[in-house]
Amino acid sequence: MNEKGLTGNAVAGVLEEKEQHESYFQLVWQRFKKSKPAIIGGLMIIMLAILAAFSDFFSPTDPLQLDLPASFTPPQRVHFVDSEGKFHLRPFTYLQVVELDPTTYAPQWTEDESQRYPLKFFVKSWEWKLLGLIPTRWHLFGVEEGGTVYLLGSDKFGRDLWSRACRAGRISMTLSLFATFISVSVGSVLGVVSGYYGGWIDTVLQRFVEFVQSFPQLPLWMALAAVIPRTWDSLRIFVIMAIIFALLSWTVLAREVRGKVMAFRETDFILAAKEMGASDLRIIFRHLYPNSLSHIIVILTLTIPQIILTEAFLSFLGIGIQPPLTSWGLLMHDAQNLQTLGTHPWIMSPVVFIIIAVLGFNFLGDGLRDAADPYSIV
């Protein structure tokens, strides 16, 4: 072959690569990109994930540090214009001072306008460990020693709610991801097996699914959560809680995957695989699973918000995550008391995180549902 022929072939090869390697996930991504809500949902999730993963970086104060005099500080305002009407390019906070109302003894928070603390970005303050390994003192923002910046106010023990909500995202999100992972693994495997084999295997599995579904969920959750020994370490409680959440949510997935697989089982390409002499395992994992995958991914993104909500709910009632772990639900635990809620409404602020997470995952799931089947309109 002469040189010309070689280059010609090479060029053809490159063109071919460019034109043809549109894998399944590329097709999904192309369609996903077109859905605005899905992109917004994805960004919401990514934002929360970053806030949670690097929560210490975003926290001006240590979320574990007690500061009893600062108990129930209302959210602090960030000012640009000072009391004399002068505009400052650098935002600042005033020192918050508390006085007890002489008649009701209710704390009254006011801003001491003589003490200005400019907000600084990329400052060094309390020490934390990047990814739990690398010690560092850098933070996104903060004020000088003596001043405070409670963006969302503080809780009963004077801990910064913003910092705590960021950190609580770690547990809330990883717990729901982990629980969803268990739920999806169990549900999809049982669903595929049930749908593919049919017969008595299907009957037994489906009756079992019905049995699990017929449990009243709330009392069962409460009972299971209540029997976890309080002496266990946090990691063990975390894993057990995830398993409890997964326990009752896999059934929906198993049902849906079963339906999908039953529809596929009758298609010619499954028959063709049998006709070639393919083993059951090959048929399940090479033909049935990839074709049900789009469905599984969608259910996955819709199960996560469910578990976030359930976790928040149980923790709010005080039977979910236990201190020293924190979750969004647990942060609102104090809001159970009507009096507390009336005087310190800001302790409900972690609910915004929950709403963002749930909406984000739902938008993402909707977008994925439309994108996951790229062959439907092609």
Partner: protein, 339 residues
């Protein structure tokens, strides 16, 4: 039908019943007798056309022969490449696996028979992978060779099925069927899902490959004009049974069964000047759940007599190599194709 007759496949009294389940306990309340006593044989390198109207059990017959179903009764004798005859109707799927290299199938619907998540290379190469014949580069070479053989550009190897037209997809299916160099192919209406213009292309390709590779074909179709084009012999099926089987010309010119006569009269002649009196069958196709007593065709047969509703006719060799199941095969003089 003796052994030295070069017979590659012989089916004796094959039955395939499907239970009808109902109620909470899923009890079987009845059976669909999809295949109810089919007997046929195919000689090596020949094309046997299996015709009959929709729902008469042609597809089920083909699938049961390939043991995609477990037959209710009957025998399936297959002569392997080394000349050994085996009865496969009771084989386990494990015992069937080596035979699946030799006995393959072409599917009717080129859209649903290809997994949309696999590339053409993976689809055509899958049988090679399953039987451990070729992997990696060797597999790619074999796939390219097969694609050329069915008239596809091997450059399209990495594309997905949805990027191809119906005719091209059927070629992909054909390449997959040929990948393990089979001896016997059950072609289940391979062109009925295609446009008429594409039908001829695929049929011609199939015929060329059959001659070149020395394949034996069981060609299933509901359209006699397609079957007569490709078949050496024709078997006519009606509600789960073979009613007539003979050489193509013989069946067309000189049918012995009234159902075959009616079927042939429905084929439009090539010459538009020929006026023919088409035989329109009265009544409905017999139900495979409650087949009529005696000859299954008797409620619609215009020659039927008393004996037809009482005694079931057997498939007999009425004339040399011309099999028919009719009580009056010898007496009736039926109309064949005109012109």
């Amino acid at each position: 039908m003796d052994a030295n007759d070069n017979i590659i496949l012989e089916v004796k009294d094959l039955k395939q019943y499907f239970p009808i389940h109902t109620g909470f306990l899923q009890r079987a309340v009845g059976y669909v007798r999809a295949v109810d006593g089919v007997s046929l044989f195919i000689r090596e390198n020949e094309v046997l056309g299996l015709v009959g109207e929709s729902g008469c059990g042609k597809t089920t017959t083909g699938r049961t022969i390939l043991r995609l179903y477990d037959p209710t009764a009957g025998e399936i004798w297959y002569r392997k490449g080394n000349g050994e005859r085996v009865e496969i109707s009771r084989f386990s799927q494990k015992e069937m696996k080596p035979l699946r290299r030799e006995m393959r199938m072409i599917f009717q619907d080129p859209f649903s028979s290809l997994n949309p998540r696999l590339t053409v290379k993976d689809i055509i190469g899958e049988p090679l992978a399953i039987h451990g014949v070729a992997r990696g580069k060797a597999m790619e070479d074999r796939v390219a060779e097969l694609m050329r053989a069915v008239g596809l550009d091997p450059a399209y190897m990495r594309r997905y099925p949805h990027e191809f037209s119906g005719g091209q997809r059927q070629r992909i299916g054909l390449a997959r069927t040929l990948s393990l160099s089979p001896r016997l192919i059950v072609a289940d209406e391979p062109v009925s899902a295609l446009d008429v213009s594409i039908q001829a292309q695929v049929l011609n390709l199939l015929q060329q490959l059959q001659e070149r590779l020395g394949l034996t074909l069981l060609f299933i179709a509901h359209d006699l004009s397609v079957v007569e084009h490709v078949s050496d012999r024709i078997a006519v099926m009606y509600v789960g049974k073979i009613v007539e089987m003979a050489e193509t010309e013989e069946v067309l010119r000189h049918p012995l069964h009234p159902y075959a006569e009616a079927l042939i009269s429905a084929v439009p002649p090539a010459d538009p000047d020929i006026r023919l009196d088409r035989i329109v069958l009265e009544g409905e196709v017999a139900s495979p759940v409650h087949p009529p007593a005696g000859c299954i065709f008797h409620p619609r047969c215009r020659y039927a007599e008393n004996v037809c509703s009482q005694e079931e006719p057997q498939l007999i060799e009425a004339e040399p190599d011309h099999y028919v199941s009719c009580h009056f095969a010898a007496e009736l003089s039926l109309q064949g194709i005109v012109g």
